[in-house]
C-alpha cells in the first residue's frame, strides 16, 4: 500500500511539477534523449551557462510550452508569464546591474532565448525585442531616462516597442520620413510606423524620427510614452505566426513629446537603431534555434512511433539522412549564432557582418528544419494539434524582420567589398 501510494505521489509529483498536459505530446520535448546526443545545446557551455540554461528550459517547459498552442489560437499576449520570466532576470538580460539589468553577456542571452523559444517561439521573440529596447536605453540614454525606465522595464511591468519600419521605408529605413520638429521644450512628431511588435499593448516606443538632413545622419531616437497626445495605433494585424504578440501600426499626429525623451544625441538615431539590431539579430536567430531544436526533437520522436509499410519510419534511410542533415545544420547554425554573440561580447570590428551572417544563416536553415520536421510528420504535421506547425509558422518571419535576409547579404557583401562604414 505504502509503495503504491509513494508511486502515485511520484507520478503526481511529475505532473504537478511540469503541469504536463496529457495530449499527444505528453512529455516536454527533449528531456529523454537530448542529453548526450550530438544536438545537445549544453555542449561546450560553462557550468554557469548550463545553470542559466537549465532555469530557462525549466521555465519554458513549465510556464510556456503547456500554453503555447492556446496563446497562438486565441492570440493571447501573456503579460503574467512575461512578468514571471522577468522576475527570474529575463527582462533585461544584457543590461548593466546598476539600473536593474541582469548584467549577463550576449552569449548568455542567446542561450536563454534559444531555451525559452522551445516553450513558445513567438512569446520569446517579443521578450527578445523588449530586451533589445532596454539595452538601447541602458547604452545610449542619459541617467535620467535610465533611472526612470530600466527598473520597470527589467521587471516587465512596463513593456517596450522598437519603431523603425515605415509603410514606405522598410529595408530602406535610412530614408525614413517620420519627422520630429523641436518646438520649445517639446518634439512634435508626425508620420507613421508599420509592423510594430507589441504596438499599443506596450508602454513606450523607441521611435526613429527625422530631425535633420536626408539619410542616416538626420535621424534621432525619441522615446514616446504610451498616452502621449497625438499618438494612436492601427488595427491589430492578422498574421501567419507570432500570434502571442500583437503587431500594429503606430501613428503620430502632432504627437507631443518632451525634449528630454531624446535617447542619445540628435542625429544618432540610425546608429542607435543599428547597434540595437546587432543584438536583436543574434537574439532572433537564437529564437530560431529553439524552434528548430524542438521541431527536430518532435520529428525524431515521430519516426520512432509511426509505422508505414510494416516498419517504423526511423528505418527508412531517406528519413535517417534527413534527420542527420537537420541535426548538422542545427549545430552549424548554433555555432554561427554563438560566434556572433561572442563578437558582440568582445566587440570585434567584424561584429556587424558576423551578426548578419548568424541572422541570415540560422533563420533560414532553422526554418527549413522546422518545415522538414513538419514534412516528416506527414498529414499530422499540418494539423494544429501537433506543435511542429507552430514552430514553423512562428519562425518564418525571422527571415523577414530585423533586416530581411537579403539585407543581411547586402551587409556581408559590403564588408567584403568595401571599407567598413558601420560599427
Amino acid at each position: 500500500m505504502a509503495a503504491t501510494l509513494s508511486r502515485v505521489g511520484n507520478i503526481a509529483a511529475k505532473l504537478l511539477k511540469s503541469h504536463v498536459y496529457i495530449s499527444n505530446q505528453c512529455r516536454f520535448i527533449g528531456d529523454s534523449w537530448i542529453n548526450g546526443s550530438c544536438i545537445d545545446p549544453t555542449l561546450g557551455l560553462s557550468d554557469e551557462q548550463k545553470q542559466i540554461q537549465k532555469v530557462a528550459i525549466d521555465f519554458a517547459r513549465n510556464e510556456m510550452y503547456p500554453n503555447m498552442a492556446r496563446w497562438d489560437q486565441e492570440e493571447i499576449f501573456p503579460l503574467d508569464v512575461l512578468q514571471k520570466a522577468a522576475g527570474l532576470g529575463f527582462g533585461a538580460v544584457y543590461c548593466r546591474e546598476k539600473y536593474g539589468g541582469t548584467g549577463l553577456s550576449r552569449m548568455d542571452a542567446s542561450i536563454i532565448f534559444e531555451a525559452l523559444s522551445q516553450g513558445c517561439t513567438s512569446t520569446t521573440a517579443y521578450i527578445s525585442i523588449h530586451n533589445m529596447c532596454v539595452w538601447m536605453i541602458d547604452e545610449f540614454g542619459n541617467d535620467e531616462l535610465r533611472q526612470k525606465w530600466i527598473p520597470q522595464l527589467a521587471t516587465m511591468e512596463k513593456l517596450a516597442s522598437y519603431c523603425l519600419t515605415e509603410p514606405d521605408h522598410g529595408s530602406d529605413a535610412a530614408n525614413l520620413t517620420t519627422s520630429a520638429k523641436q518646438k520649445g521644450d517639446h518634439f512634435i512628431i508626425n508620420g507613421a510606423k508599420a509592423f510594430i511588435s507589441g504596438g499599443q499593448d506596450t508602454d513606450m516606443n523607441l521611435v526613429m524620427c527625422r530631425t535633420g538632413e536626408k539619410g542616416p545622419k538626420g535621424i534621432s531616437c525619441i522615446l514616446v510614452e504610451k498616452g502621449s497626445p497625438g499618438l494612436s495605433f492601427g488595427k491589430k494585424e492578422k498574421k501567419i505566426g507570432w500570434n502571442s504578440q500583437p503587431t500594429r501600426a503606430v501613428i503620430f499626429d502632432n504627437c507631443k513629446v518632451p525634449v528630454s525623451n531624446l535617447v542619445g544625441q540628435l542625429g544618432d538615431g540610425f546608429k542607435i537603431a543599428m547597434r540595437g539590431l546587432n543584438g536583436g539579430r543574434v537574439n532572433i536567430a537564437s529564437c530560431s534555434l529553439g524552434a528548430a531544436q524542438s521541431s527536430l526533437e518532435l520529428a525524431r520522436d515521430h519516426v520512432k512511433v509511426r509505422k508505414q509499410f510494416g516498419k517504423h519510419l526511423e528505418h527508412f534511410q531517406h528519413l535517417q539522412f534527413k534527420l542527420a542533415e537537420m541535426a548538422t545544420k542545427l549545430v552549424v547554425s548554433r555555432n554561427m549564432v554563438r560566434m556572433a554573440a561572442t563578437a558582440l561580447d568582445k566587440n570585434w570590428p567584424e561584429k556587424v557582418s558576423l551578426c548578419s551572417m548568424a541572422k541570415y544563416f540560422a533563420t533560414e536553415e532553422c526554418f527549413k528544419i522546422c518545415n522538414q520536421a513538419l514534412q516528416i510528420h506527414g498529414g499530422y504535421g499540418y494539423l494544429k494539434d501537433y506543435a511542429v506547425q507552430q514552430y514553423m509558422r512562428d519562425s518564418r518571419v525571422h527571415e523577414i524582420l530585423e533586416g530581411t535576409n537579403e539585407i543581411m547579404r547586402v551587409l556581408i557583401s559590403r564588408d567584403l567589398l568595401e571599407d567598413r562604414k558601420y560599427s
Binding site: 509513494s6 511520484n10 509529483a13 511539477k17 537530448i34 548526450g36 557550468d47 545553470q51 532555469v55 527570474l88
Partner: protein, 257 residues
C-alpha cells in the same frame, strides 16, 4: 528560541522526464550523458528552508549532497535557490553504486552534529530508487524525533507542528527540536533560481569532504543481483457489455463473485 540552523539534503537524480533505460548487462540503468536534476522532493525541502529563512525563523541553510563530482551542480542550484553554503561528500564510481540510505543517513547525522543544526529537512524519498528510508534512519541514528511526509510545517516555540500525509488521510503531530522532517508533495511549490542568484551562488562556499572525514564506512551491505525492466504491458481486450466485463473480472479473480 533563536533562529534555526537548517540542514537540507539535495540528491542528484536522473531527471523525472527521462525515460530510464536498463543497461544490457542488467547491473543498473544508464546514467552517462543522461539529464540529471535535483530530486523534486529535495527542491521542496529547499523551498521550505528558504521560506523559514525569509521569515527569520532560520538563520543559516546548509545544503549537502553525497555522490560524484557532478553533485556540485545540484548544490550550486540549491545555493542559487537560497542556500548559504554547501557540503559535497564525494563518493565516486563503484562506491557510489553501492551507496545506500544506511550510509547516507550516517553521513547526514554526523554533519548535523558537527554543524549543530536544529532541523534537518530531507525529501521523503528520491525519485530514482524510491527508498523512503534516509530521513527515518537519520532520525534514528541521531535519536531525534521525526516528522515524515510533511504537508505543512509550523515552528512553535522550540517545537514543530507538522501536518503529515498518511495512508488514511492527514495527521497532526508536534515534535520537539532538534528534529528530522521529510517533505511530501503538497508542502510547497519550489521557486526557480533567478539569474542574479545563480551568479551570486558562484561565490558561496562549497566544501568537499570524503565519507572517511566523518568516519563512515561505506562498504556495501547489499548486493544488486539484477536490474530488470518492468514487464511490457500486454494488449488488452475489448468487451461488448458491462455484464461481460464483470464476468471477465470475476474469471480473473479480480472481484469477488
Amino acid at each position: 528560541m533563536s533562529a534555526l540552523r537548517v540542514l537540507v539534503g539535495c540528491k542528484r537524480v536522473i531527471d523525472y522526464a527521462v525515460r530510464v533505460r536498463v543497461k544490457p548487462d542488467k547491473t543498473g540503468v544508464f546514467t552517462d550523458g543522461v539529464k540529471h536534476s535535483m530530486n523534486p522532493f529535495d527542491e521542496i525541502a529547499m523551498e521550505e528552508a528558504i521560506r523559514m529563512k525569509e521569515k527569520k525563523l532560520a538563520s543559516e541553510i546548509i545544503v549537502v549532497s553525497c555522490g560524484p563530482i557532478q553533485c556540485q551542480e545540484t548544490l550550486r542550484t540549491a545555493l542559487a535557490m537560497g542556500g548559504d553554503r554547501a557540503i559535497h561528500v564525494q563518493v565516486d564510481g563503484k562506491e557510489y553504486e553501492g551507496l545506500q540510505p544506511f550510509h547516507v543517513s550516517k553521513i547526514l547525522a554526523k554533519i548535523a552534529q558537527e554543524e549543530k543544526v536544529d532541523l534537518l529537512i530531507l525529501g521523503k524519498q528520491a525519485i530514482d530508487d524510491d527508498c523512503n528510508q534516509t530521513g527515518q534512519m537519520t532520525a534514528a541514528i541521531l535519536d531525534w524525533p521525526q516528522a515524515t511526509f510533511a504537508s505543512k510545517v509550523e515552528i512553535d516555540n522550540g517545537s514543530l507542528k507538522v501536518l503529515r500525509e498518511i495512508d488514511g488521510g492527514l495527521e497532526n503531530i508536534k515534535v520537539k527540536l532538534p528534529a528530522v522532517v521529510t517533505t511530501d508533495l503538497r508542502l510547497n511549490e519550489p521557486r526557480y533560481a533567478t539569474l542574479p542568484n545563480i551568479m551570486k551562488a558562484k561565490k558561496k562556499p562549497l566544501t568537499t569532504k570524503k565519507p572517511s572525514d566523518y568516519a563512515v564506512d561505506i562498504s556495501p551491505r547489499q548486493e544488486v543481483l539484477s536490474v530488470e525492466d518492468p514487464p511490457v504491458r500486454e494488449a488488452g481486450q475489448k468487451v461488448e457489455s458491462v455484464e461481460q466485463l464483470v464476468q471477465k473480472l470475476r474469471d480473473a479473480g479480480l472481484i469477488v463473485s
